[in-house]
């Protein structure tokens, strides 16, 4: 199956901040998790990776985070290959996981303080930490409470506040809206839009076609380790993304059926 790719956005292609080049990952047990995947995300752009389980979205994020090494190809952050210099590459990214995990016996502010310092920001005072939590919409009375009683949405807000405070040029998000109620999902989407407007390069993996269509500047559809289709926001207005997704997710036979 060849990559179904429309014209690329020239502004994105000019100076990609996040980039994969023929990125391939084969695990020790022989499973081919990623097969020659190439895409780019420029500053001030949101790229959504759509795909089912085992499509290769999380593997792509793991390669960007330096948790695994590519079999061939490379994942680049600001031109730095993550498997060559992972620490320098990580200085330029913030990460928000699917099930936001913070220390349950720490308060929201304590968690923020720790992770932000871990990210290299030692210059922030309590007010600035609180301001970031305000910005993501976490109520004031929750700032000093321990995380163990927080809902997923509240923890998601804390994680986003950490990403904001780290002030990295790129943000990686793994299924960020999964499990959120519609209101929290909408607030989250709104915040992502703001961060994009601040010039952040955002790469998110998601199942959520609606959110992807709503927020992403570019959508890549992945299936069994391959990037099978890519569309820009403008193109999606004239195309049924859901049908496109289902078409590729259902495999070549469905593709033929759809074409017919």
């Amino acid at each position: 199956m060849n990559l179904d790719r429309t014209n690329l956005d020239p502004t994105t292609e000019a100076q990609p901040f996040l980039q994969t080049v023929e990125l391939t990952k084969r695990y020790e047990d022989g499973t081919l998790a990623l097969d020659r995947v190439s895409f780019e995300v420029g500053p001030g752009r949101i790229y959504a990776m759509l795909g089912g389980n085992g499509a290769g979205k999380t593997t792509t994020l793991n390669l960007f985070l330096g948790f695994i090494e590519p079999t061939s190809g490379e994942a680049l952050i600001d031109g730095i290959a993550t498997h060559v210099d992972p620490l320098r590459a990580k200085e330029r990214i913030a990460y928000v996981s699917e099930n936001v995990a913070l220390y349950p016996h720490f308060t929201a502010l304590q968690n923020l303080d720790f992770f932000v310092r871990l990210g290299g920001r030692n210059d922030l005072d309590r007010e600035q930490l609180s301001a970031a939590l305000d910005r993501v919409g976490l109520e004031r009375q929750a700032h000093g409470k321990r995380l163990k009683g927080f809902s997923k949405g509240m923890r998601q807000k804390c994680a986003l506040a950490i990403a904001i405070l780290k002030d990295a040029p790129a943000i990686l998000l793994d299924e960020p809206t999964s499990g959120l109620d519609p209101k929290a999902g909408m607030e989250f989407t709104q915040l992502l839009g703001e961060l994009r407007d601040e010039g952040k390069a955002i790469l998110m993996s998601t199942h959520d076609i609606f959110r992807a269509k709503q927020i992403a500047d570019r959508v890549g559809i992945m299936d069994r380790g391959r990037l099978v289709a890519e569309r820009q926001q403008a193109e999606l207005e004239g195309e049924d993304l859901e049908a496109l997704y289902v078409r590729y997710m259902a495999g070549p036979s469905a593709e033929v059926a759809c074409s017919a």
Partner: protein, 482 residues
């Protein structure tokens, strides 16, 4: 970065209800161990002083030092109450005769068997059993738990070298576990002083070394727990592996090593030795009886008309008998020494075997180090008997001095000659002064000697720490964070 991770680890461990509850229990147990140790010491001290006084009281009214059968007893020592080792299994009293073998009897467990049923809750038990479990409880999920919670992914998405992360976690966890322990230990020390336990500077030094050995042992458990945690991906798996390992290390390996050594190296029993000695004694007595008969026949036959005082005749007989007695004693002592040496050699081989295998477990290495430092290890009975033997020689010299060369070994014949009017001449009988009896002052082995003996096990515990921490470090560098 490193200090940030250490502080976070400290805060994370110290802030959990799990820590507060467990630490409370452990603190209570440590204080209880000190309290019970102090009470036990004070009680044993009073018993010991009463026994010494009774020993002297029994001598009152005696007029001849040959009638004295002094008994010495092992004085209680403060550290033996905190790290009991085998001190309660060892006989505390030795009856000192002029000649002959010394045997310690009346151990504390022998007197109060009920105490042997559950043994004592001392510092060794608390470190070996309670604190090692405590370390495992707080470190089994140090890595795998962070992975399960997902915090590891988030943390390592930052520019943190893995080496810094694992070192920070190891140091933070070690500090979180050991520093709070110092509080009940210091309070326990104060409790000892307030209870009137006369701790000398040497005792404090020994106690400090026991605590150091304990901390090294807890550190080894912590390092091992982190290592296992860095080899597994689920905290439940990690906990299960650690629990099984703990059971093996604390409850299975040390006793199995002893059983294995006992089966591999046979040691002649004390009864066997006594039986051989008994046979020789019977044989020598039979020979002596013949010799006496011959002596009497020869001496009476030689000069039947010679007029001698009865005292001179008895004096010559005593001299002859003394020679026989000394020859007999020497033969018995030689056999006894040979048997004791054979037994000691076999025991030494058996101990070497048992300790070599048992030291595969850090619990055994700690136990050997702690009891060695406290002076309650396997060499306690040997040390006590050696000192009792030295006292025996002192007492024998004293007795000879007081009795004009006689000692209480063998048989002495005393002759009293009546005067012409039928009245026995009255020797002025003066009561002995019990306070003249040489005192027995038990000396524990000096710290330098004890430290030399314990150095191997302290080094072994340090080695376990290095190995386990290095294992945890390497395992984490290769850890799959996904």
């Amino acid at each position: 970065m490193f200090s940030l991770i250490v502080r976070k680890e400290l805060r994370e461990i110290l802030g959990t209800p799990r820590f507060v509850a467990t630490f409370g229990v452990v603190s209570l147990l440590i204080l209880l161990a000190f309290y019970l140790g102090a009470r036990s010491y004070v009680h044993a001290r009073a018993q010991h002083e009463a026994a010494v006084a009774e020993n002297l009281r029994q001598m009152e009214g005696l007029t001849d030092w040959l009638q004295v059968r002094p008994s010495i007893s092992l004085p209680p020592r403060p550290l033996a109450s905190l790290v009991t080792g085998i001190s309660n299994d060892v006989g505390r009293n030795v009856s000192v005769m002029g000649l002959g073998t010394l045997r310690a009897s009346q151990s504390r467990y022998n007197e109060d068997p009920v105490l042997a049923v559950f043994r004592f809750m001392d510092l060794e038990f608390i470190f070996q059993v309670v604190l090692s479990l405590f370390a495992i409880l707080f470190a089994f999920d140090l890595i795998s738990g962070e992975k399960e919670r997902g915090t590891l992914r988030l943390a390592l998405s930052n520019p943190v070298p893995r080496s810094t992360w694992i070192l920070g976690k190891l140091c933070g966890a070690a500090a979180a576990l050991t520093l709070p322990l110092l509080v009940p230990l210091v309070l326990g020390g104060l409790l000892l002083v307030m209870s009137g336990v006369p701790m000398q500077s040497e005792d404090w030094l020994r106690l400090g070394l026991v605590v150091l050995a304990g901390l090294l042992y807890v550190g080894a458990n912590l390092g091992f727990a982190v290592w296992v945690s860095a080899l597994t991906h689920r905290s439940s798996t990690s906990f299960l592996v650690l629990l099984v390992s703990w059971i093996l290390a604390v409850l299975v390996v040390p006793p199995s090593a002893v059983m294995l050594a006992a089966r591999s190296v046979a040691v002649p029993s004390v009864d066997e030795s006594l039986s051989q000695l008994g046979r020789l004694r019977t044989q020598l007595w039979a020979e002596d009886r013949k010799a006496i008969d011959t002596y009497l026949q020869d001496n009476m036959a030689e000069e039947p008309d010679r007029i001698e005082t009865a005292a001179a005749i008895v004096g010559r007989f005593n001299e002859f008998f003394q020679q026989r007695s000394e020859a007999r004693s020497q033969a018995l002592e030689e056999l006894e020494a040979r048997l004791a040496e054979q037994r000691a050699n076999r025991q030494a081989i058996q101990e070497r075997w048992a300790f070599s295998v048992a030291r595969l477990s850090p619990a055994a290495a700690f136990s050997v180090a702690a009891t060695g430092l406290a002076g309650t290890a396997l060499d306690l009975p040997r040390h006590f008997i050696d000192q009792a033997r030295a006292y025996q020689e002192v007492y024998e010299r004293f007795q000879k001095e007081k009795t004009g060369g006689r000692s209480s070994g063998g048989i002495q014949i005393a002759v009293r000659v009546a005067s012409a009017d039928g009245e026995e001449p009255r020797e002025e009988e003066v009561a002995i002064d019990p306070l003249e009896l040489p005192t027995f002052d038990y000396q524990s082995p000096p710290v330098a000697e004890v430290l030399r003996t314990a150095a191997f096990d302290l080094g072994l515990l340090a080695l376990f720490n290095v190995l386990f921490f290095a294992g945890a470090f390497v395992a984490f560098l290769r850890y799959d964070v996904r």
